[in-house]
Amino acid sequence: MAKANGSGRPSRLFRNLNAKIAAIPMILTAMVVFVGFSLWTVVYSFTKSGLLPRLDFVGLIQYERLWSNTKWLISIQNLVVFGACMLIFSFVIGFVLACLLDQKIRFEGVFRTILLYPFALSFVVTGVVWQWILNPDFGFQSIVRAAGWESFTFDPLNNGKIVMFGVVIAALWQGTGFVMVLLLAGLRGIDEEIWKATRIDGVPAWKTYLFVIVPMLRPVFVTALVIVTAGIVKVYDLVVAQTNGGPGISSEVPAKYVYDQMFLNQNLGQGFAASTMMLVTVAIIIIPWAYLEFGGRKRG
């Protein structure tokens, strides 16, 4: 990316010619799959496609219906709640865990494995496991009640108002270990000299972490952020396995809306309109950020 940006003279085009030729299949794939199919989806979102795609243009009707649909509006709301909670908690918890593991403790490998292990499970398994744990009749609530606290109530999956937090709990359990490992790798890359210097200056460890190490870990944070955000936008399987959008429609998410419209309601046009809106939302966030992040490099 950076190389292409920096090209000034035409002769650079032919530099590393072999490598460029070798990359052509990948470039073609990317162009056709990511750009071509996305454009195709956008075009067909203006049609009245039902079960099969048809070029029968109806203007903005699909979008009007989308934005007046309660299920879609709830989906968006849920995604915001889910995204905010995921970003804040997975990074805070992940960073704290990484710092703790960084204290050169004994059996670090064991702890690291335990904390990362949930990440090896698919969202479907995670969803089912947490559906059981959060089931009021034989999960966490019933255990606490059996232990003597009769009035204890914790049934997020059966309460539409807090169901998203039940989903967040499962997602955090699954994803935090991954953030932790990425950050831990970043911490290991920090030069020992930095620590020596701050120690000589008498800076407390927590201050060093917060004001020296965190800014130094910026690239690692960005990587983790991109991966976690992508996971948030496309969350689908977790919800399907854990709540299937319920109770009622209170834990619907945009990706599930797209699937339901396309395959259950046999209304491809509506599904395409919804996925186009997801694409636009992501683009609105990514493009300015990418511009700031990579556009500034030119001077270096």
Binding site: G50, L51, L52, R65, T70, K71, P136, N158, G160, N244, G246, P247, G248, I249, S250, Y259, D260, F263, L264, N265, Q266, N267, Q270
Partner: protein, 409 residues
């Protein structure tokens, strides 16, 4: 790379191999105890013809299975035959030429004369040709009551919806869930269908769902139906099962007073060896009206260019509609046969009630027959929302319903 080639080669060999044998893969979503027993009857009858039924059951009810079926057909990997609810679910597939016409078999065997009521076969007809075999008639208009539950609560088994509503407080006191509704959205729309048909009446039902008459939604009859819907929400508060058969199991075990469900619930009672009238009670049209609806299942046959498969498909179609298979299948399934000329001596009380109504009483079309998949699912979403939000008003439902009807017309 070579691994991929190897994989492709094995797939090709495998595909070739299956094409040679006269095996017909049949996909369906009949996986609960009673349903599986019923579909095994078809398999048995088909295997007896010398062909081989390859069972392609897809778990998790129609809403999970249909997308799989559709994507296999549109993706160029068609099965030999597949279940759909007759109506509009497969219409676009037919229009796109992905399904084969059964017109020659149907006219040769005179399906138009033997299928009763004829609306069942009309739902299979597109542009004058028949594209599916109807295999059963399922009335969705039933209220199932657990005699055990009412005994525990010390009250008589109610004879209709009104008595059921009155009995509800006593059930609650005895620690029994009065009305159980699973969390699958279509189960909630079934309740709406029932109150409209039984309380507002079949004329209003036809006006709303067949003619998409928005005026009828605001009529005085519908006020009563909406009030009943609100009552149903109160009675169903606290039921948190997911699947319909889990809900039926609660009724079977006497943990719930009643369930509004189609007559496929009958199969579950049969598997649990419960006797109609003794262990459970069935009330058609909520006990208020002698009424059945004619939704049901049908089998469609994807167009496959292989004469051997085509012949086997025709054979399967004939087997499914044959009197013997119709009786064997429908007895296990708890549904009614699609032909009026078969003998159902073995039918139990509930089925007999249904058959009598089918012959003499009021018959309305099932929602799948009259609404598009899109409208049907929007309606289900609306209803499941209503049942889960105690603060959602009837007016919101009215408004939503009008929007859906306008969209679908």
């Amino acid at each position: 790379m070579s691994q991929k080639l190897f994989f492709a080669a094995t797939v090709a060999v495998f595909a070739f191999g299956t094409a040679q044998a006269e095996e017909v893969e049949v996909t369906h979503w009949w996986t609960s105890g009673g349903e599986a027993a019923a579909v095994a009857e078809f398999a048995k009858a088909f295997d007896a013809t010398g062909n081989k039924w390859v069972d392609g059951a897809i778990a998790g009810s129609g809403s999970t299975a249909r997308p799989v079926m559709v994507s296999r057909i549109t993706g160029g990997d068609p099965m030999g035959a597949t279940q759909f609810n007759h109506g509009q679910q497969a219409q676009e597939l037919v229009e796109a030429g992905l399904m084969r016409s059964l017109e020659n078999v149907a006219s040769e065997d005179g399906w138009r004369d033997i299928v009763h009521p004829s609306s069942i076969l009309e739902s299979c007809e597109i542009d004058g040709e028949i594209y599916c075999v109807p295999v059963n008639i399922h009335s969705q208009l039933w209220l199932w009551l657990s005699n055990d539950a009412f005994e525990k609560a010390g009250i008589e088994v109610p004879a209709d919806w009104n008595a059921f509503v009155e009995a509800a407080p006593a059930l609650r006191e005895a620690g029994i869930q009065p009305l159980v509704i699973g969390q699958q959205p279509w189960q909630a729309s079934l309740v709406l269908q029932n109150v409209v048909a039984a309380i507002a009446g079949p004329e209003i039902y036809a006006k709303i769902f067949n003619e998409k008459d928005v005026e009828a939604v605001n009529g005085p009859e519908m006020e009563k139906a909406f009030a009943a819907l609100e009552t149903a929400r109160e009675l169903a508060a606290g039921s948190n099962v997911q699947e319909w058969n889990q809900a039926t199991t609660m009724v079977i075990n006497g943990e719930a007073g009643g369930q509004v469900m189609g007559d496929w619930a009958q199969g579950e009672f049969a598997v649990a060896e419960k006797v109609a009238g003794e262990d459970y009670t069935c009330l058609p049209g909520l006990g208020l009206a002698d009424i059945v609806s004619t939704g049901g299942d049908a089998f469609y046959f994807p167009a496959i260019e292989d004469p051997e498969i085509t012949a086997a498909q025709e054979e399967l179609a004939r087997v499914m509609i044959s009197p013997e298979a119709q009786v064997a299948f429908n007895l296990k399934k708890g549904s009614m046969p699609v032909r009026g000329d078969v003998d159902l001596d073995a039918a139990n009380d509930c089925m007999r009630k249904g058959l009598d109504i089918l012959a003499n009483g009021t018959v309305v079309d099932g929602l799948d027959q009259v609404l598009s998949a899109d409208a049907g699912n929007q309606l289900a979403d609306l209803m499941i929302q209503f049942f889960n939000q105690p603060d959602m008003s009837v007016d919101d439902v009215k408004e939503g319903l009008i929007g859906i009807l306008e969209y679908d017309s």
